[in-house]
Symmetry: C2
Subunit: 220 residues, 2 copies
């Protein structure tokens, strides 16, 4: 079982029984989302922004405008912290203290660099789009030279990573089980609904299989 | 219309037409969620963690174990950046370049302090629980002295804040409208499902109104 190395940065101290450094678990959680929160240091201040991403091996790719201040500052910072969190449920205990959530969460620390090689850069753009809707890249018009040159692609190499997973019911204090206070779990899920086609499409334009597959996989 | 002041930290440069500093808009987006990503500087490195929160006026409250290294480092850092993001849809354009997402997102910069006053601290714990399920605090066993003392509550005073909202359809290049490539929006929503009552409850324990109301309000 391959594991990410444990450093001061990614070592999970609290709730460590829920922690894992297993590479496969971490990759699966990363592949289940496409929105991450990325933090970096700017003028001695931490800044966190939400952004789309893709994972390929031990690399995370993000993209943005060449003029995007956040992206440029992130590149200047050289290192970044990334969090991907999937909320799976509210854990409503008998006691306020034992309220919790079910979730799958990954924390990454990595080094940031600009993707310069044009072939690698185009591949990264493909990964990001396909990370949202698998296989959709081939359905759309790919970037022209102007668009390609206006886009900045950053690669964050995963140096250390950890995952935390909570996937269980209520855990209350012994004494509280005698009370008549209700307790339980409210499942939570991010779902997709049927696509709303653009009004300006030619009549009978078919929704691509890849989009339909994504929606059916993520329906409520 | 009250607005948060604009500084170098919260000024939205890219996509500024989607930006707002309106206090009411920002508060509404904050009140629509209960999971934030909070970043701070630790050993010259940015760290981002997901955590539950509540908003009351211009203050954000978070809580954790007294021994939580992240919470203690955050307190030591003294300032924090917070992001709250609601994903509302995937915007699938004809061109890869114009792919986007519909979302409501808030970014906050604030100063961190420990809530020392016991009355204020208990109130903050109530806010965090009620921010998840409005009114549920009164249904559960409230913290005893031991639990109360083992809990660290931090207050982040909002110094600057901005919101970005995208809530529209596909916007493609003129020329691409003549193509036969499909385009559209896939709506996305975080939904709640019927509560799963704890198996160890006494028979006929009723699910509280507040929980049922939350679920019915957040159903798919």
């Amino acid at each position: 079982m391959a594991e990410y190395s444990i450093s001061n940065l990614n070592k999970v101290v609290r709730g460590s029984k829920r922690a894992t450094y297993d590479v496969e678990t971490i990759h699966t959680i990363l592949d289940d989302g496409f929105l991450c929160h990325i933090a970096y240091v700017y003028n001695h201040q931490a800044i966190v922004i939400p952004t789309a991403y893709a994972r390929k091996g031990d690399k995370i790719y993000i993209h943005g405008s060449l003029k995007n201040r956040m992206m440029l500052s992130l590149l200047e910072a050289g290192t970044a912290s990334i969090s991907v969190t999937h909320l799976d449920g509210l854990v409503l205990a008998r006691s306020a203290f034992h309220h919790s959530a079910n979730y799958r969460s990954v924390n990454i620390f990595g080094t940031v660099k600009k993707v310069e090689d044009p072939i690698e850069k185009m591949e990264a753009l493909k990964y990001v789009l396909n990370h949202m809707i698998p296989g959709h890249w081939d359905n759309v018009r790919q970037p022209n030279e102007k668009e390609f040159n206006a886009t900045l692609v950053l690669e964050i190499h995963i140096e250390t990573a950890s995952a935390k997973i909570r996937a269980e019911g209520v855990v209350d204090d012994k004494d509280d089980y005698n009370s008549s206070i209700w307790a339980g779990v409210v499942p939570i899920k991010q779902v997709a609904y049927d696509p709303i086609s653009d009004e300006q499409l030619p009549e009978n334009t078919k929704i691509p299989e890849e989009v339909l597959r994504y929606v059916s996989k993520n329906k409520s």
